[in-house]
């Protein structure tokens, strides 16, 4: 414990000297940092903060030092997070590379790949995107058909990916490709890293029902990917893919639950009182008050369940399926209740006749419809619970 306290003091001193003042103020969306070759910094202190944290390896505190990580153990990582939280520091870097790819490179990558890619991920020099889903392969991801043909020193990649978040801004993509067309579907997949600047790669943004989005389609037209960019063994990429999905699912359920990623943290009770009016301090419409109460009670019980899971120190991917399922369905419900409470004010599309907050809620309502689809649909989560928790037969 003593060395931990000493470590805490070191962290505190370092942050005091190195965390720029504006990085201790609440984050504004346009100053979010994702790094990469083409990164633009609205606030120069964001860049400075990333460079300093990246140099320390504290953007990825638990990754090994030899690859540029912080080399901290669990307890030290926790202390670092506590200290960052204490001064309300902004995240130095948002990164699919750190959240999803790096753990897989550590586990499955070659020594050369670790030395080549990890330091650039950790310093935020290279921004990554994920090439998994395809137009014909959503929930049945393993049916994917983007093919990579063995041409001796390289693979020739042809096909299309979809739902690649920020593909138009990313420098590299980690993609699942079919290298074994004759093998059973799970056994012919490989995990391939591709530089987005390679000739034949193109992207096209996707507009959602909620408007602009980070999602893109990504096309591969005779793209040459050097053989050394294969992670792990040819045709055994599915194992890596599954591991990575777990990292992703954990990440999404946090995102979905807090109402994050959906624009507005507005409370449904306050919204209802504002737009339906109050009678004796109560939401004036009894039927809507009843629906909202049910929702809030479920939310309370769900929140207690998250807390209990933490208190029990639960591990298991089964729990993450339950949280993903319940959290995203609940979030959809919240926005349905919210626009219902707002009446015709909940239906705004642009500023003509609607405030910024009102439009944001309408857009967020539409965006939540994807919560129970992305990262594994609700139905897939229920399958996982049935099979892995309840042990029901196939």
């Amino acid at each position: 414990m003593e060395h931990l306290e000493q470590f805490r003091q070191e962290v505190r001193n370092w942050l005091e000297e190195n965390c720029p003042p504006s990085m201790r103020t609440p984050l504004v969306p346009e100053e979010e940092v994702w790094g990469g070759r083409n990164a633009e910094y609205v606030n120069p202190e964001s860049k400075l903060w990333l460079e300093r944290m990246g140099e320390k390896g504290w953007t990825a505190p638990n990754l090994p030092k030899e690859y540029g990580g912080g080399g901290l153990d669990r307890d030290q990582t926790k202390v670092l997070h506590q200290e960052l939280y204490r001064i309300k520091a902004r995240p130095a870097l948002n990164s699919f590379g750190i959240w999803m790819l790096a753990p897989c490179i550590i586990e499955f990558g070659s020594e050369e790949q670790k030395r080549e890619h990890l330091p650039k991920i950790i310093k935020g020099e290279i921004r990554w995107c994920q090439g998994y889903s395809e137009p014909g392969s959503g929930s049945d991801l393993a049916s994917l058909s983007t093919k990579a043909e063995d041409m001796g020193d390289h693979y020739l990649v042809n096909g299309q990916k979809v739902w690649t978040s920020y593909a138009d801004k990313a420098d590299w993509i980690f993609a699942l490709v079919r290298t074994g067309p004759k093998e059973p579907k799970h056994n012919g997949i490989s995990f391939l890293l591709i530089d987005m600047a390679t000739e034949g790669v193109s992207t096209k943004p996707i507009t959602l029902i909620s408007g602009k989005s980070p999602f893109c389609e990504t096309f591969f037209d005779n793209v040459k990917a050097p053989k050394e960019n294969l992670v792990g063994v040819e045709n055994s990429g599915w194992t890596i893919a599954k591991k990575l999905l777990q990292h992703e699912r954990n990440f999404i359920s946090n995102f979905g639950l807090a109402g994050g990623g959906t624009g507005s943290g507005a409370d449904v009770v306050n919204i209802a009182k504002k737009y339906l009016g109050e009678s004796n301090g109560q939401i004036a419409n009894p039927a809507q008050r009843e629906n909202i109460t049910l929702h809030k009670m479920k939310e309370h019980a769900f929140g207690l369940t998250l807390q209990r899971s933490g208190d029990e120190g639960a591990k298991a991917s089964a729990a993450s399926s339950m949280f993903k399922y319940y959290g995203t369905e609940h979030n959809k419900d919240r926005y349905e209740l919210m626009i219902a409470a707002m009446g015709n004010k909940g239906l705004g599309w642009t500023h003509e006749g609607f405030s910024d907050d009102e439009q944001a809620i309408t857009k967020a309502w539409l965006r939540t419809k994807a919560n129970s689809i992305e990262g594994g649909t609700s139905e897939v989560q229920l399958n996982v619970i049935s099979r892995r928790v309840l042990d029901l037969p196939n």
Binding site: R289, T293, A301, L304, R308, S386
Partner: protein, 379 residues
């Protein structure tokens, strides 16, 4: 507040689990139902529970109890709920003890609590008067006449009322029906003249009575606590009862669910296990989620009671609501998923449905607690 059990509470839960498995499997309940045992629970079994200290879990040490708290008693209720074990735990160990301990004078505590701990005295809380739980809708009245209280009125659906030695009667000493003020609680021996106790036969084959007071005369020391002022404490006593029965309902739910899942794995139709059908799998997975939420609500409520949290009322209502909703769902689905065998008396699963609906009514349905939660939360 950590939402886990202490070692002591885990130990109690394990003990209760073995007890229920060895001494009171569901066959025990079936035998009681089919017998002419009018009190619907078994004296020998109750004495064994008493010997384990379960009658005194909420009783202060100085009156012979263990003070293991609501968490202690709730984990026992949960395990007993799994095998539908009937006992005076709720009526006596939770409600009777709490009422006497929270309202009574030292003399009254000294008079009753050690006897309860020893298994010599059981109690029943007579509160409801109408078709629905409504704790302040009290019309039964008590008037002081000389040195005697005189009670008139009627009570319905009194849990364990048909067997209790001591009836704790909620009566109005001032004000009008619906008001919290003006409510008092009296302790009456079940043999008192003027007390007419009629056992009612409910679908769950447990012990309930309707009670009529016609010029029931009680000594002044029958009044528990202060005249007119029992309302607020009564809410707290009821909350403890609500938490305890929520824990029992969680146990009912867990067992009905497990039996059903096992059935889905055994039963074959169309040449395959019916549990391989997605139509059933998704409903099972949904139930799993609701059960997890119920566990969390119950454990939070029992710890809140022990920590005297100001969230107690909200959490008690949340627990009773969530336990009621989930048991309702699971008891219905359990029958449906069992198919034909599920609606036969020979098979145990129907017992859980019958118990479910009665337990849902006791101390407020989900709708009652939804309304209460909304009011407390200021929605």
């Amino acid at each position: 507040m950590k939402l886990i059990l202490t070692e002591e509470q885990k130990f109690l839960k394990d003990t209760a689990q073995s007890f229920a498995r060895d001494k009171t499997p569901v066959t025990h309940f079936r035998e009681l139902r089919d017998s002419d045992n009018g009190q619907c629970w078994d004296k020998t079994v109750w004495q064994e529970m008493v010997d384990l200290g379960w009658s005194g879990i909420l009783v202060p040490e100085k009156f012979g109890g263990s003070e293991f708290g609501m968490a202690g008693i709730s984990v026992i209720m949960q395990e007993l709920g799994k095998t539908l074990t009937p006992s005076p735990m709720l009526s006596t160990s939770v409600l009777g003890v709490s009422a006497i301990n929270m309202l009574g004078s030292d003399e009254q505590k000294d008079n009753y609590l050690p006897k309860i701990v020893a298994g010599e005295l059981t109690t029943a809380l007579a509160i409801d008067e109408g078709n629905h739980h409504d704790p302040f809708a009290i019309e039964a009245n008590a008037v002081l006449d000389g040195d005697k209280w005189v009670l008139n009125g009627k009570k319905v659906f009194v849990v364990d009322g048909a067997s209790a030695d001591l009836i704790l009667i909620v009566a109005r000493t001032s004000g009008k029906s619906g008001e919290s003020n003006g409510i008092s609680v009296f302790a009456a021996n079940h043999e008192n003249a003027g007390l007419d106790i009629t056992k009612i036969a409910t679908a769950d084959s447990r012990n309930y009575a309707n009670i009529e007071m016609s010029d029931l005369k009680l000594d002044q020391n029958a009044l528990l606590g202060d005249q007119d002022l029992a309302g607020e404490t009564l809410e707290k006593i009821l909350d403890l009862g609500r938490i305890a029965i929520s824990a029992e309902m969680l146990g009912n739910t867990e067992e009905a669910f497990e039996v059903t899942i096992n059935y889905l794995k055994e039963r074959k139709q169309f040449g395959v296990q019916i549990g391989s059908f997605q139509a059933l799998q998704h409903r099972a997975a949904t139930m799993f989620c609701e059960i997890e939420l119920t566990k969390s609500a119950v454990i939070a409520a029992m710890h809140a009671a022990d920590e005297n949290s100001n969230e107690l009322e909200r959490l008690a209502s949340l627990a009773k609501f969530q336990a009621g909703e989930t048991l309702h769902l699971v008891s219905n689905e359990a029958i449906q998923m069992h198919g034909g065998i599920g609606v036969t008396d020979e098979y145990d699963i129907g017992f859980y449905l019958k118990r479910a609906r009665v337990a849902e009514q006791i101390f407020g349905t989900s709708e009652f607690h939804q309304a209460r939660y909304a009011d407390i939360s200021g929605f």
